[in-house]
Structures are given as C-alpha cells and as structure tokens.
C-alpha cells in the first residue's frame, strides 16, 4: 500500500507573505473557483518546467491578488487591459510565457476590445477567463455573462434582456476569429469536469511553449457568496443553470497556428553601424555654399493641390541647407488641402529663425489665380511676386512690388513635364533673388527625386527657367 502525498505546486508560494506574514490561506471566499484554477495553472507550470519563464498578468477583480500566490513574475494590469499588456510583454521577451488571467467584468465588459484584438492578432499568449456570471470584488453586480433572470445587486429583479441584453458567450466570440489556435470552455461543477479543465489549461500553456499562438480557456466557476448559496448549491447551480447557457466543450484545437511566426533567434541582429546607415547619420553634406542673402527670405508658395507646391517648398528648403543657410518649411494642411489649394511657408536666413509662419511674405510664388487673389495683398512693399501666368492670366495689381509673370505651365507642357512647372518658377526666383544658386538646385534635385526620368525633366525645367530669365530679365 502506498501513500499519496499531496504537495503544493512549486509555482505557488509555500506561505503567502505578500498577503500577510506567515499567511497560509488565500483571500478567496470558501467555495470560490479561483483557488482551484490557481492550483491547476501552478501544477501545469511546474510540469512544463516554465516557472522562471512565466509572467502572470493579474486583472482587476477578485484575482487582482494572484501575485500573492504565484511564485512567478507578476504584473498587475488596469481593468480589462491585460491582453494588451500581455501582447507587449510577448513582443518584448520572446521566451517568456505570458498568462493573462481575467474575470468576466474585466474580459467581457471593460476589456472586450483588448481581448478581441489580442486574439485577432494571434498573440502567442494564454488567456484564462474565469466566468462566474457575476462581479465578485465589487459586491455582486451584474456581469456581461450574468444569465437571464439571474438576480444581482444591480439586477434585483433578475437580468432582463429587454433592458440589459443577453449574456455574452466569449468563447464563441473568440472562435469567430481566424487567428486563435485553441479555444475551450470548461466547468468546475464537479471533479470530473475539473479534470477536463486541468487538461485544457495544460494544453493552452503547452501551445505557448510550442509557440503555436493564441489559446483561450473559459472556465465556468462558482461564486457562492455573491450567488448567495452554499458551496455545494453553487456547484449544482453552475451545472444546471450556467452550463446550458455556456455549453462546455472544445471549440477549436488546431495542430499549428494559422501563420508562420518569425523565429527572432534565427534573424540576424541589425548592427548599430547598419542602423546609423539606415537613419542617415553622418551622411556627407552636399556642399556648404557661400550665398550672402540681401535680406531674410520669407516665402509663400501657393497653388492647387497636385501642382507640387509643397514639394517645391521642400526642394527650396533643401537647397537653402546646402547653401549653409537656416531654413524652415511649414505646410498648410487639413481642410484647406482637401479643398484643393495648398500653400507652404518657407523662411531662409543667416540667423536663427523665430516664427516659421509667413503671414507677410517678401516673396510670393503663385501657381494659380485663386492663390494670387488670396495672397497678393499680404506681400510686403518691396517684395517680389512670381506668377504662373498660364493659370493666373491677370497682372499683379500692386505697384510697390516686383512682379514676374511666367507661363510656367505652358512651358512645362512643352517640355512634356507638367509636374515640373513649379521648378521653372523656382529657377527664376533663384536667379532673381540669388538666395540659392542654380548649381545647388541641380545638385539637390537628384538627391530628393528618386525616379531618373523625373530628374531629367526637372533639369530641363531649370534650363527653361534660365532661358526665360535670359530673355525677360
């Protein structure tokens, strides 16, 4: 005859010092299911040899104090957020075994979004969902899983579908998603069912060890105190009332996950040198020019969306950097852009630029009539206006500014490169103002435009601009 010696799982603390010095009973009420599930999980952790690797995410609810008991890494999460927390732990520590342990308010109420999306991403984590159809910690209120007619302190007449809706079947919701590999609902109603729960819990953890993916075990669990029953009555009520609403059984058990996971250990580490290269740290400058500005350039470029107004501004700012000047570029954005017009503010200066906003430009480049109408009056006396006369047929009305009317859209069309119209305008500005040189423009364009044929077209646009300047200025 041999004796069976019952030993506490090694993954549970021998005494619960985090609860109180020397404490050897849990904080759970008599007849509660949490203790049973804790034991089953701890035994599985022991048997799988994953105690050191395990990180246990406690929820808000009765099991908030799971860290009293589990001798594993512990983190306490905001109400319902454990699956998001667990997802991030998973993506930080590849080898950790991450458990999210949640109640029905936590998972099916406040945390519905987090559980559904973690499941849908197929995170390689294990979720244990304790469904006791009521809120324990806060004192017996209705849960999303409270069954119809069940009396709670917030449904004193019993849950009424017409007012509170129906109990939510979480295992079924999770099984509507493609990514999870294992979904099972179990019950703690009697010893035989507890043994089935034990198997499901093990499977759900083993899947994670095997990097299979997202495993979900819903555990129907008694809450005698809030159900206002004895422990024995509670198990009977669970079997007779909860199980018909939440049928136990396996909903999914795939041999492998629905997608291949990258084994990070097999992927070559990216060196710091490579990272610096990717980020362009230490790249050589084009050249530091010696341009002397006659005055700070406060430029506004405006036109239809799609005329390259914003990108021409960026080109100009890049040229300014190459000339060794300080610069800022600020776009108009949002509704204005969606409405079809766009403008950018560019400043070029020898000294630190304060406000990047150009309210009163000394240089205005306009690609269409609405822009000329909108901004002509804002130009400071003595400033210059460059007009795309192809699309803005009227002359500049101001007499206290220099005006250049250049048919850049027609010129660009003749080159077969309508998108480079604004570059012609920019070329004339460069020649008139001397703020940037043509050499710089020619050097910067290939650096900011990837497509070779576009580079060539822009080079021809520059030539066209030079020719116009030669003939007209």
């Amino acid at each position: 005859m041999h004796t069976i010696k019952h030993q506490k799982a090694r993954s549970l603390y021998p005494t619960f010092e985090r609860k109180a010095p020397g404490a050897d009973v849990s904080h759970y009420c008599p007849g509660c299911g949490h203790g049973t599930v804790h034991n089953l999980i701890a035994e599985a952790i022991d048997d799988l040899g994953i105690q050191d690797r395990t990180i246990f995410c406690s929820p808000v609810g009765c099991s908030v104090f799971a860290y009293y008991y589990f001798d594993v890494g512990n983190i306490q999460c905001a109400h319902g957020r454990a699956p998001a927390v667990a997802s991030a732990i998973r993506r930080t520590n590849e080898e950790a075994i991450v458990i999210s342990y949640q109640g029905d308010g936590d998972l099916a109420g406040i945390g519905m979004s987090q559980i559904v999306h973690a499941a849908n991403r197929g995170e390689n984590i294990t979720v244990f969902f304790i469904n006791n159809a009521i809120y324990g910690m806060t004192g017996g209120q209705m849960a999303p899983t409270t069954i119809l007619g069940q009396k709670t302190v917030t449904t004193p007449e019993g849950r009424n579908a017409a007012n509170e809706g129906f109990p939510i079947g979480m295992a079924e919701i999770i099984s509507s998603l493609q990514a999870p590999v294992f979904i099972e609902r179990v019950s703690l109603a009697n010893a035989a069912k507890v043994m089935k729960a034990r198997m499901a819990i093990r499977k759900a953890l083993r899947n994670q060890v095997d990097k299979k993916g997202f495993s979900f075990v819903e555990i129907l669990s008694p809450c005698p105190v809030n159900w206002k029953m004895t422990a024995v009555e509670a198990r009977r009520w669970l079997e007779n009332n909860l199980e018909p609403v939440f049928p136990v059984g396996n909903l999914r058990d795939l041999p492998k996950g629905p997608f291949d996971r990258v084994d990070k250990k097999k992927v070559a580490r990216i060196s710091n040198k490579k990272i610096l290269e990717i980020l362009g740290v230490g790249e050589e400058e084009v050249h530091a020019g010696t341009v002397q500005l006659q005055e700070e350039q406060n430029i506004k470029i405006a036109g239809f969306g799609g005329q390259g107004v914003l990108s021409t501004g960026i080109l100009l700012a890049n040229c300014a950097i190459a000339e060794g000047l300080k610069t800022t570029w600020l776009p108009s954005y949002g509704a204005e852009m969606r409405g079809g017009t766009a403008n950018a503010s560019i400043n070029i200066s020898h000294t630190t630029i304060g406000s990047p906003i150009v309210s009163f430009p000394n240089v205005l480049m306009v690609m269409n009539l609405p822009s000329l109408d909108a901004f002509e009056d804002t130009v400071r006396p003595g400033g210059a206006i460059y007009v795309n006369s192809s699309l803005a047929p009227r002359k500049v009305r101001r007499e206290d500014v220099a005006a250049y009317h250049i048919p850049v859209s027609d010129m660009a069309n003749n080159l077969g490169a309508i998108q480079s119209a604004s570059v012609i305008l920019l070329t004339v500005y460069a020649l008139v103002s001397g703020a940037i040189t043509i050499e710089t423009l020619q050097k910067v364009i290939p650096l900011s435009i990837k497509r070779k044929n576009l580079v060539d077209l822009n080079m021809r646009a520059i030539e066209a601009g030079i020719a116009w300047y030669g003939e007209n200025c």
């Binding site: 860290y67 306490q76 999460c77 957020r81 997802s87 991030a88 630029i353 009163f360």
Partner: protein, 352 residues
Amino acid sequence: MGQHLMKGNEAVIYGALLGGATHYFGYPITPASEIAHAAADLFPRCGRHFLQAECEVSSISMLYGAAAAGARVITGSSGPGLSLMAEGLSYLSGSELPSVVVDVQRAGPGLGYIWPEQADYNFIVHGAGHGSHSGVVLAPNSAQEMCDFAYKAFELAEHYRCTVFILSDAYIGQIMEPVELPRQIQTNPHKDWALYGDAKSRRNLLSSIYLKMEELEGHNLHLQGKYRRMETEIVDFEEVLTDDAEYLFVAYGISSRICHSAVNELRKKGIKAGMLRPKTLFPFPSVRLRQLAGQVKKMVVAELSNGQMVRDVQLAVQGAVPVELYSWMGGRIPATDEIVRRLEKDVAASSS
C-alpha cells in the same frame, strides 16, 4: 556634419531610435500621424518593434507591458488620444514604469480640429489621469528639439522611473527644419526591477495596488519626493535677451518661436523685450522666473489656450510683477506683428 530636412514628427522617431527605443505602439491621429508613419517604416528596418494598436487605451497599456518587460517604449498621439490614455498614464506612474509619450497638441475640446493649440497643458503637466502623479514634461520648439528631446527622454524616464512627455503642437509636428542627428546609439540598460521571464527576475512584482493605508501614503510620498527632486535636478529653459529685459515673454512650443520674432522686432523699436522659454514644463522654471520678477516690469504669457501655463507663472512670481495673458484658441495663430503691436500698446498704456 550632415543636416537632414525633416518634419518634427519624423525627427522625434529618429531621436527615439538613436536613443535606444526598442518598441513603438500607437494609434494614428492627425496631426501626429507622421510619427506612426516614420515608426512603421524605421522601427522594423532597425530591428525594433512596431505595432499599430486598436485604440489608444490599448497602446498605452502596451507601453505598460513593454516597459514592465524592460523595453524602451514610445508612443505618439494628440489630445483625443491622450484623453483615452489617461488611465494607462496613471497606472504607469503608479507602477513607476518608464515610457515616453509624445503629444502633438491640436485644437479642442472634443473633436475640435487638427490646427495647433496648447490646451493640453493642464492635463499633461499637472497629472494626466487619476491620482497625485505627474511625469517629466519636455517642450520642444523645433524639429531639432523633437529629435534631441526624444533622444534623451529614455534615460530620464529610467532615471526617475516615470513617464516622459514630449509636449509638442501641430506646428512643431508639421514643421520641416534641418536636423542634426545624434551620432551615437544608446543601449537599453538592464533593469533589475523588470520582468524578463527568467530566474533572476521571477520574484519581481509590478503593481500599483497597496492595501495598507500607510503603505499607499508612503508610496505617494515617495512619488512626490521624486517630483520635488526633479525640480532641483533637471529644470531647463532658454533665455532670449533677458539681461536687460523690461518686458518678458514666457512661452513654449510654437508660441515661443513667434515670441522670439516679436522680441527681435520690439528691440528694433527700442523696447527692451526678452523671453524665457521653458524647455521643461514639469519641473517648471519657477526659481528663475521669481528672480526675473525682480527685474522686469511685466511678464506676458503667450499661449494657445485659455491660459494654462499662465497659472504656473503667477504661482512662481507670487504677485511680485504683473503677469498678463495673451491667449488664442481654436487653432488661430498670431502673426508676429500682432504680438508686437499688442505689447507696444501695453507699454504705451503703462507709461502714460
């Protein structure tokens, strides 16, 4: 050294990656979306992790999880997203987990619109979420500082075990300027409190729950002690022509850029204007402001809100000098000229 023309929203990601960021979790929102775009492009290419979360409640919870697991983690968002993050921000403070959060402020309240405002100041600087807590709040006013502040944010966050906010605005996010990138990559250090899923860290517990009143009180006092320490250790600000200033602008972010221009214009007109620009909003440069209160005739706080930082300035100077608020809301940005004319008028009024 090479300078890169980039948006503030991109620069913050370059700074973060060079600062050793290992993880980015976030949800897109205008005018902060380029942060997520740059992160989605660059984090994976640099062997780091990027994940678009389902909402900001989840992204901040992911920061909580990744930080707990020892990551250097960052997110970027704007006001409506920050409102959703309030819960997680409080938990991060409670569990003392280091993380970096960028707020590219837009106009509110509610959906408001995507134009710039600086109206998240009270919310971010004085403790986003429930409980007595805060974090370091850095206020960049250029694309360069978006990069530099992100670069140094992780070290600060780990040193104090707190959240470091980069409180930006739509213009500093959207502006493109030359940025000089740091030349060294920081490494993410081992943290002996983190959860690594190994034998050494097995007994670690990260939690913000305290069942004994005296323990929770002690935890709160510990946090407040940390915040007080920041005041003597990391206050940072920039001064513009304060030596002989009689009129002092106090402004941060885009407002400080405009005030800087206004100071230059006013000096040309013979008015002795200057500016103090807090680079840290928490801790706040109260001591320096108190000193300047003995020198200047007036302080003008220029902000894109109903007047939020102005309260901290008033608290700092304790009535020693008049403090006036120039305020704009709803996304409207003053031209330099508008500020110049207003101060000229104030000067004339006070001397008549």
